[in-house]
Point group: C2
Chain length 649, copies 2
């Protein structure tokens, strides 16, 4: 059960947990809300292949037409809806899925081709700009939608036309002399093809995924040159008309195509592309153990990302211009400091990659990052009511970019990605393996969540239940039930735990005698120091997997986005359980009652450099209140927020 998209069905979440509440918000609000947006914006009907006024509009980000992602927006909504429909009946949502599937079927061209833009707006130019135009990316999302639809409806109404489209791609792309030696500018189809192969066992889907992965970045792959260069020349592209998001005229690294993946040494470029790509690579490594060079590269790129290019929230991508990775240790917290993108989809991508890595290497370092992203960079991206979203998840607000959410985005990848992630979150909690012939099973518990796992093991049914208020509390009560199967469990002890760290194995013979047991990992606030090379010199408060922030709604005196607040490493922090009756949300708030102060900047009068070392410790603050970063921007206020505070000596 390598994929959360299929294994989640075996998990039911306890409704009143943090994740249960977020899923509930999606069921009650988000699915219908996003469906309404799809209808209102023209996306819903787009597969009818009629002209839409938007198609005439000049692109917001040249040269990407604003509607270029509509295929994927619809596909991701279908996919997310299907996951929820597998666990809950929602007739209006189900009806919309049916209608969309019908429309997609009707949009397919006689040869199998299926894409709105290149059928309606720019016919005749299919596959002329793989680099920028997201054609194969859209196909990847259609594949994932089709897989979810088949799992829900047990029919091939969507999967069959999509397989026809993919069959067309298998003819067009590949190493053969008559085939196109190309690969997508935005990876996604690779991971989808591997899942499609897993479902259909069709070898050519595996081959195409592998071709896209291994051909990528080949400097001599197409007529002895880079495919993207040849493609651009064929189009007659003027190199001075470079896409707005390219930092340089020929930014191959933006697409992770500057060299073959196996040779890449640092993680570069657009962060969502990088995560989707590496997710497929990690999945390929699980399927075929022979790719040692790709395996080494994947670890290398993971380490570079986590050690040098990741925010304390698990967010990645400091650079707004190319929505991606900056220099090592360049991690400013917000716009006013030089950037912080930390896109929602990128954090979801880190979770996907970490989940795939755990299938080949059960190392808690992957799980820690997966959980860090979930409780911070990902959960922060949707309001508690499920109706508002963030695309960018900065760690500090500024007058230009307040801490607030939007209803929707022109490029709307993030909101439906939340559907997909929350729809399948049960599949991230644990992985299991039932060996019916041995009447045994083992379960690896990655995340602590109030939830129940149920699966067959031969004639037996295995159940593992967690009761916990995590991440507010570190106590987790486990109950294991099975008639006769022997079950081994491994529990992840996080890296921030003060005792043992790693996957703790509990053997079946102990569990037979102790089917009900409690794991306790004490949660207490800890101060995170930023790496000196980040030039941040900040302290961040975390408690368990949760990173905290300050908001003006709790600290009403603030007028500078907390940029002049100082925090001492010796500060005193107290905990306070908070229950918000309006949202029904509970969390642990933190109060700093000693050790916070406000910087006195008057000393710097005529230069940003002070000519002596008389910087004062600042004016003490009686109290500074912190809340989980995931809960930010839910209670009004003026949008001032910050995660890391300047460290005072």
């Amino acid at each position: 059960m390598a994929y959360p998209q299929t294994s989640f069905i075996h998990t039911s979440l306890t409704p009143d947990t943090l994740l249960g509440q977020r899923r509930q918000a999606v069921s009650v609000n988000t699915l219908q809300y996003q469906l309404d947006v799809l209808k209102k914006t023209g996306r819903y009907d787009a597969f009818k292949l009629k002209w839409h006024p938007v198609y005439d509009r000049a692109p917001e980000v040249w040269p990407i037409p604003d509607h270029l992602f509509w295929d994927s927006d619809v596909a991701k909504w279908i996919e997310g809806a299907c996951y929820f429909l597998q666990q809950q009946s929602m007739p209006a949502i189900a009806k919309a899925v049916d209608e969309l599937v019908d429309m997609i079927r009707s949009a397919q061209q006689p040869d199998g081709y299926l894409n709105i833009h290149y059928t309606v707006v720019d016919p005749g130019n299919r596959f002329t700009n793989l680099k920028d135009m997201h054609e194969l990316y859209n196909c990847g999302h259609l594949i994932e939608a089709a897989l979810a639809h088949q799992a829900l409806c047990r029919n091939d109404q969507l999967l069959s036309p999509i397989c026809s489209y993919v069959d067309l791609l298998c003819k067009i792309f590949g190493p053969g002399p008559d085939q196109t030696h190309g690969y997508p500018g935005h990876p996604e189809i690779e991971l989808a093809l591997l899942r499609l192969y897993d479902r259909t066992k069709t070898e050519r889907y595996l081959s195409l995924a592998k071709y896209f992965i291994t051909e990528r970045g080949n400097a001599t792959g197409c007529d002895g040159r880079h495919y993207f260069d040849v493609e651009a020349e064929k189009r007659g592209a003027d190199p001075n008309m470079k896409p707005a998001f390219y930092p340089e005229p020929r930014s191959l690294w933006y697409h992770q195509a500057h060299k073959p993946i196996a040779e890449q040494t640092t993680i570069e470029g657009h962060s969502v592309r990088a995560m989707y790509l590496l997710t497929s690579v990690a999945d390929l490594l699980r399927l075929e153990q022979s790719h040692h060079d790709l395996e080494a590269a994947t670890y290398r790129l993971w380490n570079n990302m986590v050690n040098q290019k990741m925010y304390s929230t698990g967010g990645i991508g400091a650079m707004k211009q190319w929505e991606g990775f900056g220099l090592d240790y360049f991690l400013p917290q917000g716009t006013s400091e030089g950037g912080c993108y930390s896109e929602t989809c990128a954090a979801i991508g880190v979770m996907m990659l970490a989940q795939r890595m755990l299938q080949i290497d059960l190392d808690r370092k992957f799980t820690d990052i997966m959980e860090l992203c979930l409780y911070n960079a990902v959960l922060t991206a949707m309001s508690t009511d499920g109706k508002k979203f963030t695309y960018i998840n900065q760690l500090a607000s500024s007058d230009k970019d307040l801490s607030q959410r939007d209803d929707w985005f022109t490029v709307a990848c993030c909101p439906p990605n939340m559907l997909r992630l929350l729809g399948t979150i049960g599949g991230y909690i644990w992985t299991y393996n039932a060996m019916a012939e041995y009447r045994s099973a083992h379960i690896d518990v990655h995340l602590y969540v109030g939830a129940k796992l149920t699966f067959d093991c031969g004639s037996d049914i295995v159940e593992l239940q967690q009761e916990t208020n995590w991440p507010s509390s570190g106590d987790v009560k486990f109950s294991l039930r099975s008639k006769s199967a022997k079950v081994d469990i491994r529990l992840r002890i996080p890296g921030w735990a003060e005792s043992w760290k790693g996957y703790l194995r509990i053997r079946s013979n102990w569990l037979e005698k102790n089917p009900d047991f409690t794991l306790s990992i004490p949660l207490k606030p800890r101060l995170l120091l930023s790496h000196p090379l980040t030039n941040q010199n900040t302290l961040t408060i975390a408690r368990g997997p949760v990173v905290y922030c300050v908001e003006d709604v709790d600290n009403a005196w603030v007028d500078d986005h907390f940029e002049s607040v100082l925090l001492s490493a010796e500060c005193k922090i107290t905990e306070e359980e908070v229950h918000d009756p309006k949202s029904g949300i509970s969390y642990v708030a933190l109060n700093v009652t000693k050790g916070a102060s406000i910087l006195d900047t008057e000393a710097f009068e005529e230069t940003p450099f002070l000519t002596n070392d008389k910087l004062s410790k600042g004016k003490p603050l009686q109290e500074l209140k912190f809340v989980p970063y995931y809960s930010r921007a839910n209670r009004g206020g003026k949008g001032h927020m910050r995660v890391g505070l300047k460290k005072t000596d």
Copy 2:
């Protein structure tokens, strides 16, 4: 005597001082070296208006042809050469000046027009792209060359054709209904026109300068719109073909044309453009006291620049892409930290602006910055032998951008700008005012330099001599000589002096009794702390006006550009007088014998955030050697250098 370009002739520098040596290097090497480069690259003959192979080349920085600045490269060399020729005979240089003047005269079109590119390469498109194509900028430099040439040769061989060209501009540009309501993308002509007005007293030159200054950024100036927008539309410019250096398709702020200067609140865009523009504004304020809104804006922009956007070296411009100002307090030291441009010409521009400001407001804050730039961001840009240059003056090297100099640049503004600055440096040292009718004079001493000022005061000759080893020593011996004129002196006491600061007035009745006196300003190392909002958390060592750096040539163990070196605010610093027999240069080196260490980064293993506060103070260094930043990259080594070192608690 408002202009150093005219007043310098009254000052002779003592040869063996730091500035005297640099001037000597220019006389002996730089003028001839740069002349050879002009000849080798095709610039020398360019005014013959023949085709050159370079004209066919695709621009390095689209859409600016590589040869676009050739007019100004030649003009600045002529101007610089004329300054030196006024104080020293150099027949080969003088001959080249004559030849160039002849060629420029021969290049003038019947209507007065004078520009290489639009005559040879793109005829018929004159004044169609004021925004990007530097046509008026080139004219500004021709004006300045003509003024210097006239002062040297006492004839109008160059001034006369240039005035004809300017007369043409006076017809074309202006507020009239048949005139073009435009202004240059790159300011320069404004300050040149004001100097031309000062020399010729021709009112229309003042009017044109004033028009360019006040019309700039007028949102409704041309058919109710921005001139640059109308101009682009007329050319049929595709907004997606935005110049490579534009951060946004319509980057009016890059040109300081986003709003009228009087309404600008922060200093933005290309830093050289900003400095040349404000230099002209400050000069206009001297000429006409009625521009209160422009005056307020000039102070506002100066303060924003100095307080929020200036490096400790006086360098400005953190952003490489647009060669200009970044966000407030965004002052990374080098490429590996996110940027540091600090262009040589921009620092020279700050000196020009400060010098003009002193003519309207004798405040030592302008002088301090002028001196800071001179001894750091400017002097560091030329090797001691005068044959190698820097364009970018980063405060920290990286593997990508080592601390080293180049022979020349495609866009060669900086090297000949050093000629102009060093040629006229005597004019920056002091300003004087002789009131012959009252038999009195006063002298404001801005800079301490071994030098002698001589000027007439009626039938009397006033002489003021400084003997000093500044900036190595803070002792300055003054000798004032005049037969009968009463002379008042004001001496600038820098802001970093520990006693009194400001212009100290010494009255003539005291000076009559004490014509020989000594000023002593103790120079000792001091630590500069960066503003907390810079996110730098560094300590920089300065001594007097000189900022220090560490180089690998003195600290051979370094392999990471000193990025992991820590410095304590309690460090112990000793001074050492160094005389380099090879270059003949003397300076005070500094050794930190206690309080420097090397960071232990092993603690940050799996994240840029450390989960506890156990960061060690690092491995102590026995010794860390510092040299003046201006002397960097003169003694070999591998190019590792840094100014600010991480502050340890």
